[in-house]
Amino acid sequence: MSVSREEVLRIAQLAELDVDDETLPTLADQMSRILDYVAQLSAVPANGTVKVFVPGPDAIRFRADEVTPSGLAFGPDEFAPDFKEGFFVVPKLGQFE
């Protein structure tokens, strides 16, 4: 099953990844082969009764509703790439607002 270049671009858009024209064909090819490879899974009967398996505890633990210290050794002003007047700063969305 082949992944078209249009589909690669659509998926890339969802993932906010740019794909340049040069790498697009190789990427489409690689993705097609990987997806063909994992499509072996369709050998499993599409049995609705097979439950999914998730390791770990069976049920969520409830945390007490208490305000606790942040555990931050230093604040966003020290690790943020652009921080002004207490806010994270990002360029505006081009098309609206």
């Binding site: 690689q30 398996f53 770990g56 790439p81 990002v90």
Partner: protein
């Protein structure tokens, strides 16, 4: 003081491996400070432990082998790291790894590949190649790595050291940068089973910050057994295919013989869904990764790259330039298998297959088998560049390791021989939360198997 200096010296001596990402100057300075502050009553007092660069530390930067976190100083530390420090250990720098733990050779790091400690033309394995190489070179007695599909056991096997993957939920993941959340666990490398097990014991146990970490006491270490009397060891036939590398087969046969001599009962078993394990893994892991890596958008941390004129531009520039090719590929695969129209055919189907794989193990353990023994990797360390052209060829390196991650089971790789000087690893897979039995058997095996003998 002199301890810290000696530790630093040993690590710096191994510089040529490119296994350590921490600059020597920073390393020395920090080790001196840590040494002064270390708790003398701690059970790991003075033990230097290197930490894979996808685990958050306060002492050094955390880049996950990626440009997108280049220079990132985490404002908090992983629970496992805090536990090491509380036990008096020294955090001996951050180790190089495949970017965001995605890879099986540590050739996908943005900071250059890691060299195999015994043969610089070969890979140390991955994704925790840096940690494995440092322990293999004798630069540190122990190191933390992480497992998603075998990223501790496979490099342990390649580098001739011990590598343990705990049961899922045994060790807190708080502070482990997430790749495949339902598969990830922090694992431990050691020169010996005892070194690795000691460190695992310290970092294990409950953590309210990690909802997937079980509410259990830390792992209690077993004593070294006199024999393997009473142990039933299963040999899953799917892990000993006809095309298995002859040297690996010889080393395994020898180890099996020795286990029998120690009194273990050995039995052939079957895990019939094994052929589907790698495809299952390569649906689930990328899917979870595509979501886990969405937070790397240049907004709140990490460097900003050129080309960000508007918001979408910021995202594209950051993620396009910050992520390497393998990471981008996996994010795209993951996004695809979760997207509308494909969820049932891929992700849901893979989770069902996962249940069947886990059931295979339960069936075998329910029939009186205590542990499984298998080769860790189909081959010894391959040459750098050998598997880069075809992603799937690289993925096949995980064939014997991914099943334990999918089923959430503990597993340990220990050196069981060499072929032309290259280490070969043998793997024990244990039952859920029964690491002590697994470690007990590993202790026994370690005492009798000659790890550096040609197989």
């Amino acid at each position: 003081m002199s301890d810290a200096k000696a530790v630093a010296d040993r690590l710096v001596k191994a510089k040529r491996l490119n296994a350590l990402l921490t600059p020597p100057k920073d390393l020395r300075k920090s080790l001196v400070m840590q040494d002064a502050a270390a708790r003398p009553t701690g059970v790991l007092y003075g033990m230097p432990v290197a930490v894979k660069d996808n685990i958050c530390t306060l002492e050094f930067t955390t880049s996950c082998g990626s440009r997108i976190l280049e220079g990132y100083r985490s404002p908090y530390e992983a629970t496992a790291v805090a536990k090491l420090k509380a036990a008096g250990a020294l955090i001996a720098g951050k180790t190089n790894c495949d970017e965001f733990a995605m890879g099986s050779s540590t050739e996908h790091s943005a900071y250059g590949r890691v060299l195999h400690p015994l043969d610089k033309t070969r890979v140390p394995g991955g994704s925790s190649g840096g940690s494995a190489a440092l322990v293999g070179a004798g630069a540190v007695p122990a190191a933390l790595g992480s497992e998603t599909g075998g990223s501790v056991r496979q490099p342990a096997a390649f580098c001739g050291v011990v590598g343990i993957k705990p049961t899922y939920g045994r060790v807190s993941r708080y502070g482990l940068v997430a790749f495949g959340s339902s598969l990830d666990q922090i694992g431990v490398f050691g020169r010996s089973v005892h070194d690795a097990a000691r460190v695992l014991s310290v970092i294990s146990g409950r953590d309210p910050r990690d909802s997937t970490c079980e509410d259990r006491d830390p792992l209690r270490l077993p004593t070294v057994p006199e024999s393997l009397q009473g142990f039933v060891i299963g040999l899953p036939k799917e892990y000993f295919p006809p095309e298995l590398d002859p040297a690996v087969r010889r080393a395994c046969d020898r180890a099996i013989r020795m286990m029998k001599e120690l009194g273990a009962a050995v039995r052939e078993v079957s895990l019939p869904h094994t052929p589907y394990a790698v495809p299952t893994y390569y649906v689930i892991a990328p899917a979870e990764a595509s979501s886990n890596l969405a937070r790397y958008d240049g907004v709140r941390y990490g460097p900003r790259f050129n080309g960000a004129t508007d918001l979408r531009g910021l995202y594209r520039a950051t993620r396009g330039q910050g992520f390497g090719a393998e990471v981008r590929r996996r994010i795209l695969i993951g996004t695809y298998v979760l997207s509308a129209g494909y969820y049932d055919a891929y992700y849901r189907r893979a989770q069902q297959m996962r249940a069947l794989i886990a059931q295979d193990f339960r069936n075998v353990f329910d029939r009186g088998v205590d542990l499984l023994f298998t080769p860790t990797v189909p081959t010894p360390a391959f040459k750098a560049g050998e598997k880069l052209a075809d992603p799937i060829a690289m993925y096949m390196s995980d064939i014997f390791t991914v099943t334990a991650n999918l089923a959430g089971l503990p597993a340990i790789s220990l050196p069981i021989g060499r072929v032309k000087g290259l280490p070969i690893g043998g793997q024990l897979i244990g039952q859920s939360f029964l690491e002590d039995e697994m470690i007990e058997a590993a202790y026994a095996l370690e005492r009798v198997v000659p790890p550096t003998d040609e197989a």
